[in-house]
Symmetry: C2
Subunit: 189 residues, 2 copies
DNA sequence: ATTTATACTGAATATTAGTTCAATGAATAA
DNA sequence: TTATTCATTGAACTAATATTCAGTATAAAT
């Protein structure tokens, strides 16, 4: 393996192990030595690639933000269809790539108190709840989404999705619920 | 104030401040000195009442378990009505006593990885999701709750409730969503 | 009034975990 | 081939924070 390859390999290896451990144990509860040990590398080597634990967190959040900013080309006539398709794709992606579920959770947690300020602000820069409330308002106009405060509806929807992701990580054996069950939070009966 | 009263006062004072800080900052991120400082007492005094930080966590979880085990005398004909009433009461209680919301979150978090084993197992001993799935099955029989894996439905429901509680603590200004929106996860259309 | 128990403090200590660094050997460039 | 760069390690250093403790003041008991 060339040095360039080795570097890229290590960087990714460390990053993804950090993501995994940050999510299952929590950021503060994860020791640098946990990451190093589970990769069978020295602590010194980890610091050779990332200058601090917080830097590692930061790099992950940057990746998460890039992923969320990538234009989601979801075609839809009815906004309900948008959320339905979104969840379909999310669940499908998670089945194939567990790290997507982990990233989803990391981003959500990073927005909360207890996160280093710089990181928290970054994570807060992409606000899924607010974006969705615009689409919800469309749905309310055409009568497919129930009426009421769109922001609160969006909050209920995303909280539900996040809660399910958290559950998935805590108890992987548990099967994901039907997409329709979650979309029913929005759907007008 | 008599010594007995003083003792009880301090014990509660410390316990509830710990609950508040554990929930808004996270257990690991909360320093013993944070608790002591915000109560204007010395660190030594805190250790006079509780022998360790983990002990404090344990005492809180015990209280949480007692609260959940207290028989919930909710009268209902239709299981949907049970969940509706349950949430009504929960939201009402939270409005009056913020610590109930905090306790709800602490219990949920304690069940996840990253928690000291002894505490995690204790928290896992009361499983709201499993209990509710029994009631959901009743509702499926009489046709008021949508069909499908009752445990997964229960999971979706409780994840949603938990997500909303977390949101409430992170951003208290945000208003709670309508109870009906959440119950719609269960309701058969 | 004297003694005893305990609420309380501030400083000292212990422990944990993040970070630095000098040394080694292997890959790359000259 | 020789020099240089860099991946890697393990031990040392440091910072943060949990925990202990000797001492003081005050309430309770004798």
């Amino acid at each position: 393996m060339t040095r360039k390859e080795q570097k890229e390999f290590r960087e990714k290896q460390i990053l993804f192990k950090a993501l995994e451990l940050f999510v299952i144990k929590g950021y503060s509860e994860t020791k640098i030595s946990d990451i190093a040990d589970s990769l069978n590398i020295s602590i010194g080597l980890l610091f050779h690639y990332y200058k601090s634990k917080e830097q590692l967190y930061l790099e992950l959040i940057k990746i998460g933000i890039d992923g969320m900013k990538a234009p989601q080309k979801i075609e839809y006539k009815d906004p309900i269809e948008y959320f339905s398709k979104f969840l379909d794709r999310l669940f499908e992606a998670i089945d194939k790539e567990p790290w997507i579920c982990q990233m989803f959770i990391l981003m959500a947690r990073a927005q909360k108190q207890g996160t280093p300020d710089e990181i928290r602000e970054l994570a807060l820069s992409v606000n899924q709840i607010e974006l969705s409330s615009k689409i919800i308002e469309e749905g309310q106009k055409i009568g497919s989404i129930k009426n009421g405060n769109a922001l609160a509806l969006s909050t209920a929807f995303w909280c539900s999705v996040q809660g399910i992701m958290e559950q998935k990580v805590a108890l992987p054996q548990l099967s994901l619920p039907e997409v329709d069950w979650i979309v029913d939070i929005l759907r007008k009966v």
